[in-house]
C-alpha cells in the first residue's frame, strides 16, 4: 500500500487497487475513531482468502495496536506472498522476528530471522541463549521463605532476588538506626529489632524443618507439635480435634509469627482435623554483590553469618546500596581500586550521587564532554581517563559538594548544559557552591540536601545564543540582593551585588545560596519568575518583574496562575496583584476572608477555563482583568456579592456562554470541559459526578443566589418577594450543619483550637432569611443589605465549584463531610495570615476538630484535595506502602488534564511511539548497529546501571526482561527519536503519516499538553507538560514530590493503552481517573524511590484492561461470525 508517500511493509503489494481501497477505508474508519470497525473490516476481508495484501493490511493494523494476533496475520501474509517478493518477504520476516522476541518465542524468531536473512541478503542471527539471569558468584541463604523475610523487612514481595539486599540495605540505612541522646552511638529501631528477632525465630523453624527443610507434623499429639507451637509463641486450647484453638502464649514470638505471615490458620485447621501438616521451609537464596568475602573482615566472619553482620552495620549497608545501584563498571573499578574500609568513608556520597557515575570506552563520563574534561580533572584531582581514581577523588572531595555538582549537571540537557559546563564557568560556579567551609556536605542528611542546585541547573533558561535568561534585567536582581525589603540574604553577596555586570554574576550568587540550609528565597523567586517567562513570546517588562520580585513573599503562591497562561500581559498581572493588595486592606477579618475566597475562586475558575481552552489565549488576559476588576472596590459584604457575580459573569461571557443561560448549568458545563456532540454521554457522566459532590456539600446554586439577589433588588424597588424562591434558598441554608466535632464542649475546649471557619459557618447558620425579609418589609435599604448577607454563601459556591472540578476519584471526604468546602480557612489557624499562601491540609488525625480541612489560598487546591483523599485508597495487597507525595501527584495528573479535545490521531500517535520503542528494543537483539544507537539514546534518560542491565538483557536476547527496565516515557522518547528516519518500519511509517496529516495535533506542544503532567513544584504551574527529564531522586524539603513530578510515564502509558483497546479519546476523562486509582491501589513499594514498583503496578492495570478488552473483542468477533 502506498499512502501519502509512505513506505509500508506491504509496499510491493500495493499495485492492486483493491488493496489500496481496503487500506483507505480502514484508515478512514480509524481516523473517525472507529478502530474496532476498521479491525473488523480488515479481518473479514482477509479471512478466507489467500490474499497476501489483505492479510498484510490486517496484520499491520493489529501490529499498530499491539494486538498479539498480529503474528498470526503476518504469518498468513508471508505464506501467501507470491514468488519474487523478496523485499516484502524480508520486511515481514524481520517484523515477525521482532514480534516473536516480544512474545518470548525464540525458536520462531530464529526461523524468521533465517527467512529474513535469505530474502534480504543480510546476516542477522540471535545471540546464544543465556541462562535466565546472570547469577552472581556468591549467594547467601536466609532461613525460611523469602515472602516472610520480605514482610518483616518491609520489602515489596515482587522484588527479584538481586534486588533484595539493596532494598534491605536502604531500609536499614533509613529506618534501622536512630540517634540516642545519651551517647554518640546509634540505637536499633523497633523495625530492625523485629527483623533480627525474626531471623532468630526463622532459624529455630529451620531446625524444625530438618534436613529436607519441610516442617512436618504427623498428628496433633506429638512432641514436635509442641515444639513448633513453642517456637511460634502459641499453645493449644482445648484437646486435639475439632475443639482445638491456637492462642497466644508468648506475645513476642506470636507477633513475629503473624507479622511474618506464617500460615497459622492452616496449622490450626490441620490440628483441628488431626491431619498431617507440612510447611515448606526451604531457605531463600539471595545473591551478594561481589560475594560475602568482599564485605566481611576476618573478625566479622567469625562473628556470624553475613546477614547478621549486614543488619548490624549501617555503614556496610550504605556502601552496599551505593555500589548496587551504580554502573557495574564503575563499582567494579572502585572495588578494585579501594578497600571496603576506605570506600565506607564516603559511602554516603556514593549512595546519593554515584548512581550517575559512568564509564564509557574506558573513560569516566563527565558533564560537558571533551570540552570540560580537563576542568573536571582539575576539580577532582584525577583525570577522567583514569576512571577509578577520578570517581574516588570526586566522591572523597569536600564532603560531597563536587559530586553533587557533577550529579546535578549530568541531569541537564540542551543549551543550559553548554552554558553551565563552559570550563571557566564550571570552576566559578563550583567555587560558589563549595564555599570555604565544606562540612556538613550535601550527603549528610537523610535526603540529598542539594535540592536547590538541582532545581537551578535543571530549570535554568538559556537562550539560543547560549546566555542565561534574566527576567526583567540585571538591575532587578541586583536590587533584590542589595535592597530586599525583607532583609539581606547574605552580607557578602549583598556587597558583591553592587558590582555585578552580567547575568553570570547573578547565577553565581544563586549557586552560592544553594549551599545554605535555610529557605532559599532568592532562588525560589528567580525560578518562579523564570517559569513565568519560560513560554512567553514577549518577555515581561522590567517593572513588572520588579513588582513580582517584591511581592513574592506575599503572593508568590499565586504566580502559578500567571505561569500557566503565557499570553497574559503585564497589565493583567499587575492588576491581579493590585486587587489582591486592596482586598488585604479590608479591616473586618471575616469580610476579608470572604472577599479573598471569592476573588481566588473566580480567578481559579478563569484558570480552569483558560487551561481547557474555553477562553482562548488571546482573550485570557482581558477575561481575567474583567473578572477581577469588580473586586477593586469591595469594602463590605454587599459589594462582595456584586463583585463575585460580576466576576463570574465576565468569565462566562469570555467563554462564550449565552447571556440568558442558567448560570449554574453553564458554569458546571464549562468546568467539565468543552466536549464534542459525540461525547455527550461521557460529558454528562462527568457533570453528574460534579453535581453529586456539589449536592453532598449542600451548596446553593449560583442561579438561586443570583435570582434571589435580583428578586430582592426588585422588591427594594417596590416589587414582590418571590416566596417560593426565598423558601428554596432558606431551606438549603437550614441544611447547613455545624461541623461535627464529636466532642463535648469540655473536650473541645481542652483539645481543640478555634477556627475562623467555624465562625464563618456559624454566621451562615444564624441567617434566618425569611425572618430577615419579613423584617425588612418594604425598606429598600434593608432589602439590599440582605444581598450582602448572601455573599458568604456565594463565596462557598464559587469555592465549591473549584473543589468539584478537582475532586479526585472517590472523593470520600467531599461526600462525607458536608461542610468541607465551607470549612476552607482563608485566614489561617489561630488568625495566622495564610490568605495568599499555598493550600495546605490541616487537622488530619485530629478527631477533636471535626476532621481535616484546607487552609490558605486556592493556589494549591488540586494537590491538597488529592492529599486528603490518598489514604482512602485501599491497597489491593495487605497494608502495602502507598506513599505521600507520589500518590497526590498521580491523582492530580488524572484530574487536571481533560481530554475532550484530544483526537484519535493523538492517542494513536502515543500508542505507535510506544509500540515502535518496543520494536526497536526487540530488533536490537539481532541488529548490532541498531542496538548501539538505541542504547546510546536510552542512556540519556536511564541511569547507567539500568541502561547496562537493558544492554545485557538485549545481548542475551531477553527483550521482555529488557523492557521491564524501560519506562513508558523512555519508550516514547526512543520512538520519537528514531521514527523520522526509519524508512523500513511500517509503524514508523504510520507515525510519519500521522505527522503529515495532522501536524498540529501531533506536534510536540500538543502531545505535551495532552499527555504531560502538572508540575506545580518543578515548574510552578499546573499546566500539564512533558519535560523528558531523568527521574529525580527524593530531595530534602520535597521528599518524593519532585521525583513524582518527573515521572511522566502514567499518562503516556494510559494513552497507549486506550489506543490498544480502541477507546474513544473522550472516554479518557473517565478511564484515566479510574485507571489511576487502580494503579495506586496496586502499588507495593519498598521505599520512596521505588518507582519500579509503580511501573509494575501500571503494567498490572494494563494487563487487566487489555484482557478485558480482548475478551470483548473476541465476543464481538464471535457474534459477527455467527451472523
Amino acid at each position: 500500500m502506498r499512502i501519502a508517500g509512505l513506505v509500508l511493509i506491504t509496499i510491493g503489494l500495493a499495485a492492486a487497487l483493491n488493496g489500496d481501497d481496503l487500506s483507505s477505508r480502514a484508515w478512514d474508519l480509524e481516523s473517525k475513531g472507529e478502530a474496532a470497525a476498521a479491525r473488523e473490516l480488515l479481518r473479514r476481508t482477509a479471512q478466507g482468502t489467500s490474499d497476501a495484501q489483505a492479510w498484510g493490511a490486517y496484520a499491520e493494523f493489529l501490529d499498530r495496536h499491539r494486538d498479539p494476533a498480529a503474528r498470526g496475520a503476518y504469518e498468513k501474509a508471508l505464506s501467501f506472498l507470491p514468488e519474487g517478493s523478496a523485499r516484502d518477504r524480508a520486511a515481514i520476516a524481520r517484523r515477525l522476528a521482532a514480534l516473536d522476541l516480544l512474545a518470548e518465542d525464540r525458536d520462531a524468531a530464529a526461523r524468521h530471522l533465517k527467512e529474513y536473512s535469505s530474502a534480504a541478503g543480510a546476516q542477522f542471527s540471535l545471540p546464544a541463549a543465556a541462562p535466565a539471569a546472570e547469577q552472581p558468584a556468591a549467594m547467601i541463604e536466609i532461613p525460611g521463605p523469602l515472602r516472610s523475610f520480605a514482610r518483616m523487612a518491609a520489602l515489596a514481595p515482587d522484588l527479584g532476588p538481586r534486588d533484595v539486599l539493596p532494598a534491605l540495605a536502604r531500609n536499614v540505612v533509613t529506618n534501622g538506626y536512630q540517634a540516642i541522646s545519651s551517647s554518640e552511638g546509634l540505637d536499633q529501631t523497633e523495625y530492625l529489632k523485629l527483623v533480627i528477632r525474626y531471623m532468630s525465630q526463622a532459624r529455630e523453624l529451620d531446625k524444625l524443618g530438618g534436613p529436607d527443610k519441610v516442617i512436618r507434623l504427623e498428628s496433633c499429639e506429638t512432641a514436635k507439635t509442641a515444639d513448633l507451637l513453642k517456637v511460634l509463641g502459641y499453645r493449644m486450647r482445648g484437646g486435639c480435634g475439632s475443639d482445638v484453638v491456637l492462642e497466644t502464649v508468648n506475645a513476642t514470638r506470636a507477633f513475629l509469627t503473624i507479622d511474618s505471615g506464617f500460615p497459622l490458620a492452616d496449622l490450626e485447621q490441620a490440628l483441628r482435623s488431626n491431619r498431617p501438616y507440612a510447611y515448606d521451609y526451604h531457605p531463600s537464596r539471595i545473591p551478594v554483590l561481589y560475594g560475602q568475602d568482599y564485605w566481611l573482615s576476618a573478625k566479622e566472619k567469625a562473628q556470624g553469618e553475613f546477614i547478621d553482620v549486614f543488619l548490624g552495620d549501617p555503614s556496610i549497608c550504605r556502601l552496599y546500596l551505593a555500589l548496587a545501584k551504580m554502573d557495574p563498571a564503575v563499582s567494579a573499578a572502585l572495588r578494585d581500586g579501594s578497600s571496603v574500609l576506605k570506600l565506607k568513608a564516603f559511602a554516603h556520597v556514593l549512595d546519593f550521587y554515584g548512581g550517575l557515575f559512568e564509564i564509557r570506552e574506558g573513560k569516566a563520563v563527565t558533564p560537558g564532554g571533551a570540552r570540560s574534561e580537563k576542568t573536571w580533572a582539575e576539580l577532582a584531582g584525577a583525570a577522567p581517563d583514569k576512571p577509578a581514581q577520578f570517581f574516588e577523588r570526586l566522591a572523597a572531595r569536600d564532603d560531597g559538594w563536587l559530586a553533587s555538582y557533577y550529579d546535578a549537571l549530568l541531569r541537564v540537557k540542551g543549551p543550559a548544559l553548554g552554558y553551565l559546563t563552559e570550563p571557566e564557568r564550571l570552576k566559578r560556579f563550583y567555587a560558589a557552591i563549595r564555599g570555604k567551609v565544606t562540612s556538613p556536605g550535601p550527603a549528610r542528611p537523610v535526603f540529598r540536601a542539594n535540592t536547590d542546585m538541582m532545581l537551578l541547573t535543571t530549570r535554568l533558561v538559556v537562550t539560543a545564543d547560549g546566555r542565561p535568561f534574566l527576567p526583567g534585567n540585571l538591575g532587578v536582581w541586583k536590587n533584590l540582593f542589595i535592597h530586599h525589603p525583607n532583609g539581606k540574604y547574605d552580607a557578602k553577596l549583598a556587597k558583591a551585588a553592587v558590582g555585578w555586570k552580567e547575568a553570570d554574576d547573578v547565577i553565581e550568587a544563586l549557586f552560592a545560596l544553594c549551599r545554605k540550609a535555610v529557605d532559599n528565597e532568592p532562588l525560589k523567586i528567580f525560578m518562579a519568575v523564570s517559569d513565568l517567562e519560560r513560554a512567553r513570546s514577549t518577555p515581561l517588562k522590567a517593572e513588572t518583574v520588579e513588582r513580582l520580585v517584591r511581592d513574592y513573599r506575599a503572593y508568590g503562591a499565586q504566580y502559578s496562575l500567571f505561569a500557566e497562561t503565557p499570553s497574559l500581559d503585564d497589565q493583567t498581572i499587575v492588576a491581579f496583584l493590585d486587587a489582591a493588595g486592596s482586598l488585604n486592606d479590608i479591616k473586618d477579618q471575616m469580610a476579608r476572608a470572604d472577599a479573598a475566597g471569592s476573588f481566588q475562586a473566580v480567578a481559579s475558575i478563569w484558570q480552569i477555563f483558560a487551561r481547557q481552552g474555553s477562553i482562548s489565549p488571546e482573550k485570557a488576559g482581558a477575561a481575567l482583568r474583567d473578572a477581577i476588576a469588580p473586586f477593586d472596590s469591595v469594602r463590605k459584604e454587599r459589594d462582595l456579592f456584586e463583585a463575585g457575580r460580576a466576576g463570574l459573569r465576565a468569565l462566562l461571557a469570555a467563554a462564550g456562554a449565552p447571556k440568558d443561560v442558567n448560570v449554574q448549568d453553564a458554569t458546571l458545563d464549562l468546568l467539565a470541559g468543552t466536549a464534542m456532540r459525540a461525547d455527550a454521554d461521557t460529558h454528562t457522566q462527568v457533570i453528574e459526578d460534579m453535581i453529586r459532590v456539589f449536592e453532598a456539600q449542600r451548596l446553593i446554586s449560583l442561579q438561586s443566589l443570583f435570582d434571589l439577589a435580583d428578586n430582592l433588588e426588585r422588591a427594594a424597588a417596590g416589587g414582590k418577594v418571590d416566596t417560593a424562591l426565598l423558601n428554596k434558598v432558606a431551606a438549603r441554608i437550614s441544611e447547613i450543619q455545624a461541623p461535627r466535632a464529636s466532642l463535648t464542649s469540655g473536650e473541645k475546649n481542652q483539645l481543640g483550637y478555634g477556627y475562623w471557619t467555624d465562625k464563618h459557618i456559624d454566621n451562615q447558620r444564624k441567617l434566618n432569611l425569611k425572618a430577615a425579609v419579613d423584617k425588612a418589609g418594604a425598606d429598600a435599604e434593608k432589602l439590599r443589605a440582605i444581598r450582602g448577607a448572601l455573599a458568604p454563601f456565594l463565596r462557598d459556591t464559587l469555592v465549591g465549584l473549584n473543589y468539584v472540578h478537582y475532586a479526585p476519584p472517590g472523593a470520600q471526604v467531599l461526600y462525607t463531610n458536608p461542610v468541607f468546602v465551607r470549612s476552607h480557612d482563608f485566614v489561617g489557624v489561630a488568625g495566622g495570615n495564610q490568605t495568599w499562601k499555598r493550600t495546605e491540609v490541616y487537622g488530619s488525625g485530629w478527631p477533636a476538630n471535626a476532621g481535616g480541612r484546607l487552609v490558605g489560598s486556592l493556589s494549591g487546591l488540586p494537590y491538597a484535595l488529592a492529599e486528603t483523599e490518598q489514604n482512602f485508597l485501599i491497597p489491593s495487597r495487605e497494608q502495602a506502602l502507598i506513599w505521600g507525595d507520589l500518590v497526590p501527584q498521580m491523582l492530580i495528573s488524572s484530574t487536571i488534564p481533560r481530554w475532550w479535545n484530544v483526537s484519535h490521531a493523538m492517542v494513536h500517535w502515543v500508542g505507535l511511539h510506544m509500540t515502535y520503542g518496543e520494536s526497536l528494543l526487540a530488533e536490537s537483539v539481532f541488529d548490532p548497529a541498531l542496538r548501539a544507537r538505541v542504547l546510546d539514546s536510552l542512556s540519556k534518560n536511564a541511569a547507567p546501571a539500568r541502561a547496562r542491565r537493558v544492554s545485557e538483557e538485549i545481548q542475551a536476547g531477553r527483550v521482555v526482561a529488557a523492557l521491564d527496565e524501560v519506562t513508558p516515557a523512555e519508550l516514547y522518547i526512543l520512538g520519537s527519536e528514531f521514527a523520522p528516519d526509519a524508512k523500513e518500519s511500517s509503524i514508523a511509517g504510520e507515525i510519519r503519516r500521522l505527522a503529515l496529516e495532522n501536524p498540529e495535533q501531533v506536534s510536540l506542544a500538543a502531545i505535551s499538553r495532552a499527555f504531560g503532567t502538572p508540575k506545580p513544584t518543578l515548574s510552578n504551574s499546573y499546566g500539564p507538560e512533558l519535560l523528558n527529564l531523568r527521574t529525580f531522586p527524593t530531595l530534602m524539603g520535597y521528599s518524593s514530590r519532585i521525583m513524582a513530578e518527573t515521572w511522566e510515564s502514567n499518562l503516556l502509558y494510559y494513552a497507549a493503552l486506550a489506543d490498544e483497546i480502541h477507546a474513544h479519546p473522550a472516554e479518557l476523562n473517565l478511564l484515566i481517573p479510574a485507571w489511576t486509582q487502580l494503579t495506586v491501589e496496586k502499588i507495593f513499594a519498598t521505599h520512596l524511590e521505588d518507582w519500579p514498583a509503580l511501573l509494575r503496578s501500571l503494567r498490572a492495570v494494563g494487563d487487566e484492561v487489555r484482557q478485558k478488552a480482548r475478551k470483548q473483542q473476541a465476543a464481538v468477533a464471535a457474534g459477527a461470525g455467527a451472523e
Binding site: 506475645a251 464529636s742 478527631p847 481535616g852
Partner: protein, 332 residues
C-alpha cells in the same frame, strides 16, 4: 448546556451492587429505591431481651409519620413479608408488589443472618496487644451464628480487606491471621470505608471495631462517620480495652458513636477478657428485630427522627434500642 436535576439518585439504605457477595453463592440484588432497614432490640426492665413480638406489636414512625412495614425478621430467622392487615407470610416466592415494582428481590436466604464486618486496628497503637486482639477476633468469628456472614478488614493508615464477606469461618480467620502490623492509625477513615462496603450488601449488617482508640491520620471526623452509619442503618460496636482511657477522646467517642448507631461499646481489662463483650454482641444479633419499609412522603430532607413504639400493654416495661434516625442522602 446540560441541565440536571439537583438530586441525581436517591440511594439510601440499600445499594445496587452486592459487590462483596460471592458469585454463585449469593443472589444478585438490584435495589434502586430508598428502602430503610431498621434493626432494634427490645429489653425488659431487667435488661433481658424480649423475644416473640410480632409486627403488629410495633408502630414505626418517621418524624411522627407512620410507616408501613414491608418485611419483618426476628434474630437470625428468615424475614417474612408483612401484609396490609399486619399478618405475615414467608418471603419465598412471594415478592411484594411494591418491592417488585421497585426492583427489589427479597426471595433469598441472603437476608437470613447478619453480615458482620470486623474492623481490626493493626496500627502502632495496638503493637502490644496485636496478637491477643487477633486471638480475640478469631474467637469472636468462631462463635458467630452459622447464618451470619463475616468480613475481616484491618487498618493502619489505609484500609485492607483481609477477608471478604463469607460464611466460611476458616476463610475469615485465614485473612485475619495474615494481618500485618502497620504504623499510623486512620480509624475513622477506615470505619467510613467499611461502612461504604457494608452499605452495598443487602440484609442486616453490623460493624465491629477492635481498637484501642487513638487516631492520628483520619481526614474525616468521628461524627461524620457516625452520620453515615445512622443513615445506612448500620450499628457500630466497639470492642476495646482499658488502654483506650490513655486517650481521653477515644473512649467518649466510642461510647457516643456506638450508642447513636444502635450498637454498644465494651471496655475489658485486656483483650483476653472480651468473652462478655462477644456474648453480648452475639445476643444482640440473635435477639434483635429487623424491619424494612419504604418511607412515606416527607418533606424533611434533613435528619428524620425514627421512633419505634411498642403497642402492647407491656410497652411501659420495655425499652427499645434503635438508631435515632437518618438523613435521606443524595447518593454516593
Amino acid at each position: 448546556m446540560i441541565r440536571l436535576a439537583a438530586g441525581i439518585a436517591c440511594i439510601c439504605a440499600w445499594h445496587a451492587q452486592p459487590a462483596l457477595a460471592q458469585e454463585g453463592q449469593r443472589p444478585v440484588f438490584r435495589v434502586k429505591v430508598d428502602m430503610v432497614v431498621l434493626s432494634f432490640t427490645v429489653t425488659d426492665n431487667k435488661g433481658r431481651y424480649v423475644n416473640g413480638l410480632k409486627p403488629k406489636d410495633f408502630k414505626i414512625t418517621e418524624d411522627g409519620i407512620g410507616q408501613k412495614v414491608a418485611t419483618f425478621a426476628e434474630g437470625n430467622r428468615p424475614p417474612v413479608q408483612v401484609l396490609e392487615d399486619g399478618s405475615v407470610k414467608p418471603l419465598a416466592g412471594a415478592v411484594s408488589e411494591e418491592a417488585a415494582a421497585k426492583g427489589v428481590d427479597l426471595r433469598s436466604d441472603a437476608l437470613v443472618g447478619t453480615n458482620v464486618f470486623v474492623l481490626f486496628d493493626t496500627s502502632n497503637y495496638m503493637y502490644r496487644g496485636f496478637v491477643y486482639a487477633s486471638d480475640a477476633i478469631a474467637d469472636f468469628v468462631r462463635g458467630l451464628d452459622r447464618a451470619d456472614s463475616v468480613a475481616v478488614y484491618t487498618y493502619s493508615r489505609n484500609l485492607s480487606r483481609a477477608a471478604s464477606l463469607t460464611r466460611d469461618r476458616g476463610d475469615a480467620i485465614m485473612g485475619l491471621r495474615k494481618a500485618v502490623a502497620g504504623d499510623d492509625s486512620a480509624l475513622y477513615n477506615a470505619l467510613l470505608l467499611t461502612l461504604r462496603d457494608a452499605a452495598k450488601v443487602p440484609g442486616r449488617k453490623v460493624v465491629i471495631v477492635f481498637s484501642n482508640g487513638p487516631d492520628n491520620a483520619s481526614m474525616v471526623a468521628p461524627d461524620d462517620v457516625r452520620a453515615v452509619a445512622e443513615d445506612e442503618g448500620i450499628p457500630i460496636y466497639v470492642i476495646s480495652t482499658n488502654d483506650v482511657n490513655k486517650d481521653s477522646i477515644s473512649s467518649g467517642v466510642f461510647k457516643r458513636i456506638s450508642q447513636r448507631t444502635g450498637g454498644k461499646a465494651y471496655f475489658a481489662k485486656t483483650w483476653q477478657r472480651q468473652v462478655e463483650a462477644f456474648e453480648s454482641i452475639r445476643e444482640d444479633l440473635g435477639n434483635s428485630y429487623t424491619v424494612t419499609y419504604y418511607p412515606q412522603a416527607n418533606v424533611n430532607e434533613g435528619f428524620r427522627k425514627i421512633n419505634v413504639e411498642i403497642l402492647s400493654d407491656a410497652a411501659k416495661k420495655y425499652r427499645v434500642r434503635a438508631r435515632p434516625g437518618y438523613r435521606p442522602r443524595g447518593g454516593f
